[in-house]
Amino acid sequence: MNSLTFRRTRKLRSAALYVLLGAAALYGYTHPVSLMFGLEFSFAALFLFLTGRMYGLSWSLLQVLVLHAAGYFLYGPSIGLFLHAAECTFVILLCGRSHPRDFFWGDLLFWLALGLPFLTVSLWGTGFTEVLDYPLPYFVPLMGGLMNALVTELLVTYLTLSRGRIRLRRIPHGKIRFSRLLKQITLACIFASSFFYLLNNSRTLERSILDQVRKEAGTSIRMMETTMANWSKEDVRGIKLRSLLSYAQLGQMVRDTTLSSDYEWALLTQSGECLLSNPEGGPEWLRSGRWRKWNLPLYEWKPDRTFQRVGESDWKRNGFIYSAEGQSYTLYVKIPLVKFSPMARGMYMASMKSFLIVVLMLSLFAYLVHNFFLKTIGQLAASTENIPLRLKSRTKIEWPQSRIEEVYSLIGNFRSVTEKLSDMLQDSWQMAHYDALTGLPNRRHFTEHLRSRLKKGGGSDAHLAVLFIDLDRFKQINDTLGHGIGDDLLCQVAERLDNELGEEAFIARLGGDEFVVVMECHGERLPSDAADRLLEKLNHPFLVDGHELFVSASIGISLTTIREEWELDDLLKKADSAMYDAKGSGGNAYSFYALDQAKSISEQMKLEFELRKALDQGQMSLAYQPIYHSGSGQIVSVEALLRWNHPELGSIPPSKFIPVAESSGLIKTLGEWVIREACKQARVWASTSTAPFRVAVNLSPSQFRQGSVYRLVKQVLEETGLPPELLELEITEAVVVNHVGKVMEELKSLRQLGVQVWIDDFGTGYSSLGMLKTLPVDGFKIDQSFVRGIPEDSDNLSIVRTVLALAESGEWRVIAEGVETRTESEALTRLGCMEQQGFLFSQPLTPDQIAERYVLACAVSKEEEL
């Protein structure tokens, strides 16, 4: 269907619907629902209201005009017609398409403001003064109008009315507002019940009246016809002469044969000449009126319509007419309807009372439902709206009260669920915003706090400082003493931080051993002071699970006066960078962020990138530092040391790239490459040397976490052909402390393979002596920090002595690292530590240098010996 055809079809539909509504209105007007005594319900207004809502003002008023013009020509002018037209016009103007207000209230407004006053004046004009005794002439038009408006409102609410069609409305979101539904149901019940009650009573009354009329008429007709048959010649002559006496006698006969003295009657000849009548001159029904046949010879009679009628307000002239025949005369008698008005009035007043009772009951019911149920439900709905948001904002929820058990239970359930949800949200919030270990705010909380501080702004001279705190050597503590000890240590550190700065700063734990402090700086309150205080506090030893631990920290400080959200990440990065600066300076210090630190950060990122290419591009190499026997002066082994010679950046120290490799996961590949390369080189040396020496390779703790070292070593040995006896593996204390069971198995397997296992940097890892006894290792390498300064440094001397004594008892060998002076070497030799390593003996050498100095030389000397 193209758009033109569609538009035409739509227009045709619209026009057809308009005509149909008009026709329905005309039908409703010409076929009112008749109640007794001329009271009528007309549904014409219903269709006019619908037109008003669907077709706009002009078309609606045109329809109102046409309908009432038709009414004018059909039934003549009347007050009722005018009132009906006024009602329709008023309501359409007030609630039509351009102002879609509630029809019911619009119509009620019309009746209160215009309709009832006008009706009062009109009815008084017709002589109706029995408002209090008989309010139906008020009640019926009012109720009819309101009922039309209510039905219209229901239709426009629950039907989709468009000019093209009428169809059932899809209620938005499938929801119905119960208060509105309750109002509409209540009103519909009131009007429907009263309407049908009135209608039913009218029918009952009508039947009752008809029965009475039939009985009375039947009896009267028999008596009259008997009397008329017995009229004498003089009686007939008197009638012919319209004698007053005959008139009186005839009137008496009518009175005697009927139940009232007020009936109108007329005696007619067969030719239609009215001889005598009451009232004289002939009743109006002889000449005019509307007749309705019930059954012969009984008719219902209504007067012609008059201008002053409101509906059939002149019903008092209505009546039932029957006839009796006798001696060529016909006597017509009218039983006035007004005779039954006391009965009708009584019944209608009873109906009115019932109606009022129904209204009261329904209103009470609606009130109770609204007050005790709907209002509470509404309050409950309001209270439970956006509960998560309210709980989050910690807004107090006002719970409604109810005496209704079910509602009370519902409220209780809501309250219980909400309280539980609140607890869960609280827990969740706590978990989301606080560190479970230390109880300090976590990274998220810190981010939100910092963001809020940045958003909130501050004094113009106030700096916002972020102190990034990282514990020095915490990793070693964690690796050597275990995570349990490390966690306890973190808790104590957090407690000290909180005690020191808790009231003046925001302290959070970002993760691991990283803490952060956010503080406002103004006046004498300087971040450097805070950093000093923190460092001083942290320098006091911590007692954790019987261990006295010494911890220092590196603190990076960044400051900003720019209170913008975008500063957040930058501020933290700067503090982090400054922290690295402090750590680079040896730790236990603080450092402010400087501009060139930004460069360092980007360098690290670049380093990681370059590291990934380094192996492939052959930038990595191994250097080997010899380990001598101080007694013989012979080399016993070499320690493979990784070197990175970048083509652009030059030589990069391991202290720079090893952490990058650790953090980026490259350490596994790097470690494998080192073992494989060292073994290859050792195999070469071994194949040419007559006095082969071992090669030592450092293993990272992460290598143990990431796979089987045993399998790797065995594979590499098989690949390279290096005898296992020529391979030493150096591990730190952290390896065995953190992975006791698994590492033990690995180490045992390696030793069974023939590979020697050494503990590197012994003395720095807090490994217990008890545990050391069970370690499947061949010896220890004493950390250079214990070697430094002996024999003058008595502490180090005693430590070395103790280690040597321990080694002796366990038949372990000991190597001293970092021997730089001859005094140190001699002292170590005296103590029994014969294997030594350090710059005193040799710098790390290239493989060629090693080969030249120790392999080829050894081979030459051997040949010379031979």
């Binding site: 009112p32 629902v33 629950y158 059932l168 429907a192 067969q270 000449r287 007749w291």
Partner: protein, 416 residues
């Protein structure tokens, strides 16, 4: 929710359909008026121009002078006289109820009661008649008696009227000790006691002052009805009791001859000067003088005793609504009215003094009852006039009811 969404619109549509059904079911079916088309009162068609005669119903008994006047009217237009007995009300009523009623009714006052209750006579006060314009014919005469019972229509008008008077022999009256001058005698006899004394004195002289014992009752009640317009019985007044007491005593005194002067005995008595006083319509004086030519000069007339004025013979006319020549009838009547009556009558002089009368259709019946009762009581020496009046009242009313009640109820309704 889905059920609610579907239930509400369906319920609404159902309700709408129900409402339309209700309007259809309650639509009333009107029928045409079952009463035959009303036809106005039908009048017989007027006869052709050549055969046109005014049909006048007239009493057989009329004063000769009046008869002559009527006869004389034939010179102006053809008249068909329908002569009936003046006392025969049925003849009039049958004629009126018949298919061809007379064009004009001429009748006596005794028929007024019946005719006033009918609604078949033209209203002479309305156009084109204008009967009130002839009030001057009988100045001061109350026309209430000629109006319909509801007082709305003037249904009859007097054509001729005579007064009821006292005839007396001046010589005999003088002999009884009373003045023979009419005026003086009328004044003396205004007192009922004087009339009784005159009767007693005349009796002592061998003369009577009444033909029959009821003469005095007749002239006392002449021209009077039984009820007034409110339905009140008017014949039970104290004054009437006094008057009837005089009538009773006069009777007891033997003042009545009990002979009719029309009879042979009565005429002899008249000649023998045994009647000192007689009563009748004024035109009868001439007849009386003819009957007693020897004393013609002595017979004179004066007003009635007891200070009573009453109409004697009366000729009234009425025009039936269904008459075919109403205009001609009216023309006839007006011609009669405009025709000068011969001589100056007492009726014209005393018209304003005639007692108010309010005849009803029940008067004829009432007259019989009342007169029978009162006569019986009055002329029974053991009864008093008070008893006569009271009993007459009680019996009459009892006998007339319930028609009496209905009649006046109807009159009240019709008068509203």
């Amino acid at each position: 929710m889905r059920q609610v969404r579907w239930f509400l619109p369906r319920a609404l549509l159902l309700m709408l359909g129900l409402l339309l059904l209700l309007t259809a079911c309650t639509a009333s079916v009107e029928t045409v008026n079952p009463i035959p088309s009303l036809s106005p009162t039908t009048k017989p068609s007027a006869p052709p121009e050549g055969d046109r005669k005014l049909r006048i119903m007239v009493p057989k008994e009329l004063p000769p002078a009046w008869q002559e006047e009527l006869q004389a009217m034939e010179e102006q237009q053809p008249i068909e006289w329908l002569r009936v007995d003046s006392a025969d009300a049925n003849a009039y009523l049958d004629a009126l109820a018949g298919s061809n009623p007379p064009d004009l009714l001429l009748f006596g006052a005794s028929l007024l009661g019946e005719l006033r209750g009918l609604n078949v006579l033209e209203d002479l006060s309305s156009l084109p008649y204008g009967g009130f314009s002839y009030n001057h014919v009988f100045p001061g005469l109350s026309l209430d008696a000629y109006k319909s019972l509801d007082g709305r229509r003037l249904m009859a008008f007097p054509l001729r009227l005579s007064a009821l008077v006292t005839f007396y022999r001046a010589d005999l009256v003088e002999k009884a000790g009373y003045p023979k001058d009419p005026e003086s005698l009328g004044d003396r006899l205004a007192d009922p006691e004087e009339w009784v004394k005159l009767g007693t004195a005349a009796k002592a002289n061998g003369q009577w002052i009444q033909e029959k014992k009821t003469d005095s009752l007749d002239f006392l009640m002449a021209g009077q009805g039984f009820f007034d317009g409110d339905g009140t019985f008017v014949r039970s007044t104290r004054e009437l009791i006094t008057q009837l007491d005089a009538v009773q005593r006069a009777y007891q005194a033997g003042t009545a001859a009990e002979w009719d002067i029309g009879s042979w005995v009565g005429r002899n008595a008249l000649h023998q000067s045994r009647f000192a006083m007689l009563y009748g319509a004024e035109w009868k004086l001439a007849d009386l003088k003819k009957l007693d030519p020897e004393h013609a000069e002595e017979w004179q007339m004066t007003r009635l005793p007891f200070d009573t004025y009453a109409p004697g013979d009366t000729l009234l006319f009425a025009i039936p609504s269904r008459g075919s020549q109403s205009e001609q009838a009216w023309a006839f009547a007006t011609a009669m009215l405009e025709r000068k009556e011969k001589g100056e009558s007492y009726a014209r002089q005393w018209a304003s003094r005639f007692p108010p009368s309010w005849p009803t259709p029940l008067d004829r019946k009432a007259e019989k009852l009342w007169r029978a009762t009162v006569s019986t009581y009055l002329f029974d020496e053991s009864k008093t006039s008070t008893q006569a009046v009271a009993t007459g009242y009680a019996r009459t009313i009892a006998e007339l009811n319930p028609d009496l009640g209905r009649l006046f109820e109807q009159i009240r309704r019709s008068s509203r």
